[in-house]
């Protein structure tokens, strides 16, 4: 049966299909659709850069314009992945430089990027438009200078939360005067010391970018320069301020206030380093339009926070320190009925006693008052099962719930019981839950609940929890949609892992550190599952210098069609057939 549609028609139809999942489905219909689809796919997302090789990607998709890559496992954010583990983008850039001369977008997360790679990007892709480096490292301002100098059509340069070595110099002045295409510039992660030259280069750049919509400054940009910048970019939709403190001079204040009121399209605000509360009213004029407010760099106390937040009736997202306290959260619940996402960070995480009155009450209040709340990240020092029951009952629409009780294994502070039942209620009621992080005192029971109910759960983070392998077994056998599982300091060992080996091929990755998985089991898994890379990360030396039943320090398992990687440092071993034979 031949198709009556010409290839061009199918291509045109496929061009309306954007989502990766849909594209993947299209490619499975039949061979000819597979062929047509692969030639017209323009965008790809690779969640684990070691799951596939550049060559495989290029062979299948010869005409990509946009590539997204993720490198290190999530726990690298908390210093659990030793430096030098991997995640190097250079081989990708090298291969893409040859294969994709028309590449426009590169988005990297948790990867190691060298200045040479940046230079290569800037010179290989004539139409390069978007560079997003999220939590990356390994490059300096010299690399940024290449990008600035050579990318004629640059639209986005976003360095969010990357670790950039600041070599001084003035890379911002490397943007040619002819560059007027910037839409988004995020340099908030850069250092706090800047020269006047850099500042004026920034001002000129902003001034000649009429399409600039997102601008996130670094701490070095002083408050008295902010007004100038705002006046040059009244079309801004997102703004991250620089430092928000200075001598309190009336003219500075009114200048700033006027500049803000000129930005009628502002929807998102962040920055506010060193914010002095008396300066905050400068932003009041645009508060009613704000949908996103990030105060997690600001040392502002509860009452000032409340004053600011009560001006922002349309807030959908709030990131804030626990200075907001329960009382502030209650006020939030009163004023911001459109709130969808709340993140509360600890101001003093290592203090033994709480420095603020932030308890489970605050989150309960928000869960009651904000009907659209679906994403929560909450650091606090105490919680109860009852509070979790209430939150679950109030907010069955939660999709992301991350609760971090700061002291590991803290029980319900009233009943002294584990928090199994509370989290159980969360997974039972919140049927659309996709992401969950647990904390507090937890037994295997909570994992039974999770395995039974959390059918849409895609990412689960576990720490200092569980009693035995049964816990892990419940999760691996029950959570149908699980893609990413990260575990630390839990008594999970060989049995559950080996019994659910096939499950691991349906997931992106599994991280286990300070658990009880033996080297022996790792070898077995690596031998028997050729499509999994079983990486043992152990800084104590080669695992075969210890008894086989000794637990490994860290274990990272991910599915891959690329085979074992070749860029491992001395403290990482991939368990595969060959290694097992060599070591036995």
């Amino acid at each position: 049966m031949a198709y009556s549609f010409p290839v061009e028609v199918l291509e045109h139809i496929f061009s309306f299909i954007d989502s990766d999942n849909d594209r993947n489905a299209v490619s499975l219909v039949c061979k000819s659709w597979y062929e047509i689809e692969r030639w017209c796919r323009r965008k790809i997302f690779i969640g684990n850069c070691y799951a596939v090789t550049p060559r495989i990607m290029i062979r299948r998709f010869p005409e990509l314009r946009s590539v997204s890559l993720k490198g290190k496992p999530h726990f690298a954010d908390f210093n659990l992945v030793p430096e030098g583990w991997g995640g190097y983008v250079d081989p990708w850039v090298l291969a893409m430089g040859r294969a994709y001369p028309f590449l426009e977008e590169l988005r990297l997360k948790r990867m190691v990027v060298s200045d040479e790679a940046l230079e290569m990007v800037s010179k290989s892709f004539k139409n390069f438009k978007v560079l997003v480096l999220s939590s990356c490292e390994g490059f300096t301002t010299d690399g940024l200078a290449s990008i600035a100098a050579n990318c004629r059509n640059l639209r986005e340069l976003d360095l969010r939360e990357s670790d950039v070595e600041d070599l001084g110099g003035n890379w911002l002045s490397c943007f040619p005067e002819s560059c007027t295409s910037l839409v988004s510039l995020n340099i908030s992660c850069l250092g706090s010391d800047w020269s006047l030259q850099s500042l004026s280069a920034l001002e000129r750049l902003v001034g000649r970018s009429p399409n600039l919509r997102r601008l996130r400054l670094n701490r070095a940009v002083p408050l008295d320069k902010l007004a100038n910048l705002l006046r040059r970019a009244p079309q801004l939709v997102e703004l991250g301020t620089g430092t928000f403190s200075s001598e309190l001079r009336p003219d500075v204040f009114s200048n700033l206030s006027g500049a803000f009121s000129g930005c009628k399209e502002l929807k998102a605000l962040s920055g506010f380093w060193d914010a002095v509360p008396s300066h905050l009213p400068a932003v009041y004029t645009i508060c009613s339009g704000l949908t996103s407010l990030n105060l997690s760099d600001a040392n502002i106390q509860s009452s000032d926070l409340v004053k600011l937040i009560s001006e922002c009736q349309n807030l959908q997202r709030l990131w804030v320190f626990d200075y907001i306290e329960d009382s502030g959260l209650e006020a939030l619940a009163e004023s911001c009925k459109n709130l969808q996402e709340l993140r509360v960070f600890p101001s003093d995480p290592y203090a033994m006693e709480p420095n603020v009155t932030l308890t489970e009450q605050g989150l309960v209040a928000v869960s009651e008052g904000c009907p659209k709340l679906e994403s929560v990240l909450y650091f606090c020092r105490q919680f109860t099962n009852n509070a979790l029951f209430t939150i679950a009952k109030n907010r069955p629409n939660l999709t992301r719930f991350r609760l971090c009780i700061i002291e590991p294994r803290t029980p319900d502070y009233i009943t002294l019981e584990p928090l199994d039942a509370g989290f159980g209620a969360i997974v039972q009621n919140c049927k659309e839950l996709r992401r969950l992080s647990l904390s507090g005192l937890l037994t295997d029971r909570v994992f039974e609940h999770i395995g039974t109910h959390a059918k849409k759960l895609e990412m689960l983070s576990i720490a200092f929890a569980g009693d035995s392998d049964l816990g892990l077994y419940h999760v691996l056998s029950g959570c149908k949609s699980l893609r990413k599982l990260e575990i630390r300091d839990c008594p999970f060992g060989d049995k559950a892992l080996l019994a659910n080996a096939a499950k691991l091929e349906t997931m992106r990755s599994l991280w286990m550190s300070s658990c009880l998985v033996s080297f022996e089991a790792c070898k077995l898994l690596g031998q028997k599952m050729p499509r999994l890379n079983v990486e043992v990360i152990d800084e104590r030396g080669p695992p075969d210098s210890r008894p086989e039943s000794y637990p490994v320090e860290k274990l990272y398992i991910y599915r891959s069609v690329a085979g074992p990687r070749l860029d491992m440092p001395a403290f990482v071993w991939t368990m595969d057939e060959e290694l097992a034979l060599r070591l036995s």
Partner: protein, 329 residues
């Protein structure tokens, strides 16, 4: 303790199996030893389903004999490596060709299961002491987690790497911003804010990267954890001592378990094989130790442990003025 007998060794078997299914269809390579029947698959599942049906509070869910083996191994682990080297070789030869399997519920050692599962809970991994992991190894805790938590209502918390799970840039900010209490703060806890003394910032983290010549593994150290150069120097020694040895081992390609760990000394005065330097906020490389400690902490962005022979243009032991500029390698 002799090692594992053949009979026990057969019980010590773990097996690959599909997740939660009745029939074992996916794995044709699950070998059964001759003494085991095909019922083992189902009985292993039965163990779990039985356990699931039990209520909380009961001990000994998983009655798997392999825990017995692990428990025995624990006793071996706490002795020094030299002692059980011979035993492990013997055991390795025995278990080499065999696969591992679940045992049926009838052969149970309930208490062991719980005990052997606890150990890592209390294993505190301090980043700065990781090179001493050989000694730390694996000390099983026999405490029930709930009890241990209450008894650990601490006097001083031991630092746990990566906990609470906050990004480094947030930690550093919290330390630097709360050092200056806001004078304009109205009403909300003014006493608490004003009462914060600078010394409290010692409890927050100021992590800087540290690399050592010849060691591909970079680390991060928390400068706030020390109050003088000597303590920093000994921390660096502890951090890298084991890694230098591991590096020699792996590059030598052999099992040199008896390689001694030499302490890294003389980091500050140029007398040792290595010297500690840092990069400040202006990007210059400086010898560690020249400026007052608090000034060092506030300006140091990065540390390096260089071979003393490669550190040039220095005034060792004498010059405290000016900035000896080192050529970057």
């Amino acid at each position: 303790m002799e090692g594992i007998s053949k009979e026990e060794e057969k019980k010590l078997e773990l097996r690959l199996g599909p997740p939660g299914q009745e029939e074992d269809t996916l794995f044709s390579f699950a070998y059964l030893s001759s003494s085991m029947s095909n019922n083992t698959t189902n009985s292993a599942k039965r163990v779990f389903s039985e356990a699931i049906e039990r209520k909380t509070g009961e001990e000994g869910w998983i009655n798997l004999n392999s825990d017995n083996g692990i428990h025995q191994h624990q006793k071996l682990w706490s002795s020094s490596s030299a002692n059980f080297h011979g035993k492990i070789q013997h055991q390795q030869q025995q278990t080499k060709a065999s696969f591992l399997q679940f045992q049926t519920a009838s052969q149970s050692l309930p208490v062991m299961a719980k005990e052997s599962s606890q150990p890592c809970c209390n294993k505190i991994v301090d980043l700065q002491q990781q090179s001493n992991a050989e000694k730390k190894a694996f000390s099983p805790s026999s405490a029930n987690p709930a009890v241990s938590n209450i008894s650990q209502k601490r006097t001083a918390p031991a630092p746990v790497v990566g906990w609470p799970p906050i990004r480094s840039f947030r930690k550093n900010l919290a330390s630097s911003s709360s050092a200056k209490p806001n004078p304009d703060s109205q009403g909300a806890l003014p006493d608490k804010v004003a009462g914060k003394k600078p010394v409290e910032t010692c409890r927050k983290g100021l992590f800087v990267k540290i690399n050592m010549d010849g060691v591909p593994i970079g680390r991060k150290v928390d400068l706030m954890a020390y109050d003088c150069y000597d303590k920093l120097s000994s921390a660096v020694d502890e951090l890298f001592r084991g890694l230098v040895v591991a590096q020699r081992d792996s590059s030598g390609g052999g099992k040199q378990n008896n390689q001694e760990e030499k302490p890294i000394t003389g980091l500050l005065d140029g007398s040792g094989e290595y010297t500690l330097v840092y990069e400040d906020n202006e990007g210059d490389r400086m010898l560690v130790g020249d400026v007052p400690w608090h000034m060092f902490v506030s300006t140091a962005k990065r540390l390096r442990v260089l071979k003393t022979s490669e550190v040039s243009g220095l005034c060792l032991g004498g010059g405290k003025q000016g900035k000896p500029l080192l050529e970057s390698a």
